[in-house]
């Protein structure tokens, strides 16, 4: 009797999710779970972009608990049909997918990031950029990080899809990174969307630590002390024309950037119109919050042990910080050039804000500037390159998607 009971208990233990840790490679899940705890800690205690890192890290936990079956990376392989058509088998996902598979469809169908951009557009003030359109150039320069990292990733022997996905981290823009990587990466790649998102959000949280040393190294004390005057006020009509203009120009030039830029600008137009308050507010609050939850937890779910615990992960970590650093440097260097060309009217510190990471990067510019001249308010001047960086990253994303056809 006791014998039988004990054997049943033994059977039970053998079949549990716990047993999943002891199968081949099962220890990797434990490591991943510990990493998810680390990110939860960083999000909660250290304030690392908690709105996304917390859902991402919880998704990471759920996906690495053996047997929970809430996400299946094997469902997200591209099937090849005939000569050159490849597709995801959504029918199969509807039949057999877990909760996080179903919700992940919104990422793979490229819906969530543009809708988050809609919300961001509805809460962004492009006034500083309109007042000083030259900021666009700084927003362009800071995308240098993306393309030089592409080169670096290629040198490290990664596939084109991987190169593009890692490079976009340098755009310092979460939804854009997810948009590009979810389009490029499939189950057969050595990295996943979650890896890219984790790196992007982590480095965005680390902007105040990564950027200042680079900024100080590349500028002279004199340059950092340049005081910039007040920006001209921008009329409502200018603010109304801006989103329409940007949509037309960018969508015509880089059609692949149209969904991101188009939604960003539509959100902004809804806000600036002043007659669509009720929908602009929903776009920037409830709609964005709902999608943030779905996006975070499902993107986190893609970080299965198999995907993360590879050499590629280390490459992502290293290339990611390089991408951020080069982006910062490019922005600063163009800032220096503009300083020279304007005979010292532009403080090069606002250049680093071009990486996006709104509004953290602009605040870093402000803070480093104040170290020299405490009364110098660079923030508004840095907001120009900062929001230009968002547009710039979206444009760079379009270029990457055009080049790296999957």
């Amino acid at each position: 009797m006791l014998d039988q009971f004990l054997s049943t208990i033994a059977d039970l233990a053998k079949a549990s999710g716990v047993a999943g840790f002891f199968v081949d490679g099962g220890w990797k899940n434990i490591v991943m779970i510990l990493i998810s705890f680390l990110f939860m800690y960083l999000a909660i205690a250290k304030g690392f972009e908690p709105l996304l890192l917390l859902p991402i890290s919880f998704g990471m936990l759920l996906t690495n608990l053996p047997g929970a079956d809430m996400y299946h990376s094997e469902f997200w392989v591209y099937q090849t049909v005939g000569d050159n058509d490849h597709y995801i088998d959504y029918g199969n996902i509807l039949q057999h997918g877990g909760l996080l598979d179903i919700l992940y469809m919104g990422v793979k169908l490229q819906i969530y990031p543009p809708l988050i951009f809609l919300g961001i557009g509805a809460m962004t003030d492009f006034g500083p950029l309109i007042a000083n359109p030259k900021s666009f150039l700084l927003g362009a320069a800071a995308q240098g990080g993306i393309f030089f990292t592409f080169l670096g990733a290629a040198v490290l022997g990664m596939s084109a899809a991987e190169c593009g996905s890692i490079a976009i981290i340098g755009g310092a823009d979460g939804p854009t990174s997810i948009y590009v990587s979810s389009k490029l990466l499939s189950n057969s790649d050595s990295i996943g969307v979650g890896t890219i998102a984790l790196a992007a959000y982590t480095y965005m949280a680390l902007v105040p630590i990564i950027q200042p040393p680079i900024m100080r190294a590349l500028t002279t004390k004199k340059e950092r002390s340049i005081v910039m005057g007040q920006l001209r006020p921008v009329s409502k009509t200018e603010k109304l024309i801006f989103p329409i203009l940007v949509t037309v120009v960018i969508a015509l030039m880089i059609p692949s950037a149209a969904p991101l830029v188009g939604m960003l600008m539509m959100g902004n137009l809804l806000k600036e119109s002043g007659v669509c308050d009720r929908i602009a507010k929903t776009a920037q609050n409830e709609l964005m919050n709902i999608i943030t939850i779905f996006l975070g937890v499902t993107v986190g779910a893609t970080t299965t042990a198999k995907t993360i615990m590879t050499l590629s992960f280390a490459k992502v970590i290293i290339l990611g910080v390089i991408a951020f650093s080069i982006g910062t440097a490019c922005g600063i260097l163009l800032g220096k050039l503009m300083c020279v060309l304007t005979h010292g009217k532009v403080n090069p510190l606002i250049g680093s804000a071009g990486v996006s990471a709104v509004p953290m990067a602009a605040r870093v510019s402000q803070k480093v500037g104040q170290e020299e001249v405490p009364t110098n308010y660079l923030l508004m001047h840095a907001m120009g390159p900062n929001v230009a960086g968002v547009i710039g990253s979206a444009v760079a994303a379009g270029v990457l998607l055009s080049i790296v056809a999957h």
Binding site: S16, V18, L52, T292, M383, N386
Partner: protein, 146 residues
Amino acid sequence: MQDIAVQMLASKLSGHDYSGTDIASVVITGMSVVFIGLILLVLFVSIYGTAFKRKNEKKKAKLEAEKAAAKAQQQAAAPAQKAESKQSGPVIEDGIDDEIVAVIAAAVTAICAKNGKKPVIKSVRRSVAQRDPWAAAGLADNTRPF
């Protein structure tokens, strides 16, 4: 943990051909698994709970000592402050007379009384800052994580 044990049941129960023993097994296995699961939680939560209880008690003792000290100090300072604010009349400053608060509360009460309900001040929240000179930055704050 319950997988193997229930697989035999499962194969029988999926069809309609299950015996009385099968059903008894469902009840016993089911209750056991639920109890094992929640007993595990009792253990884990108790363990870390005990650890924290101790830690909290230390912290609390310390805090209370600090509070007592602070209170004593405050009580000494209050009368002086009160006198001052009464002389200068109501001004916008931290040490404002509590009577003013009473006036406000009274007024609110007067209005509410008409509904026949007696309200109590539950909380006073600081208003959320809106559009200060550097408004865009504050606004953009919301966009941080994206």
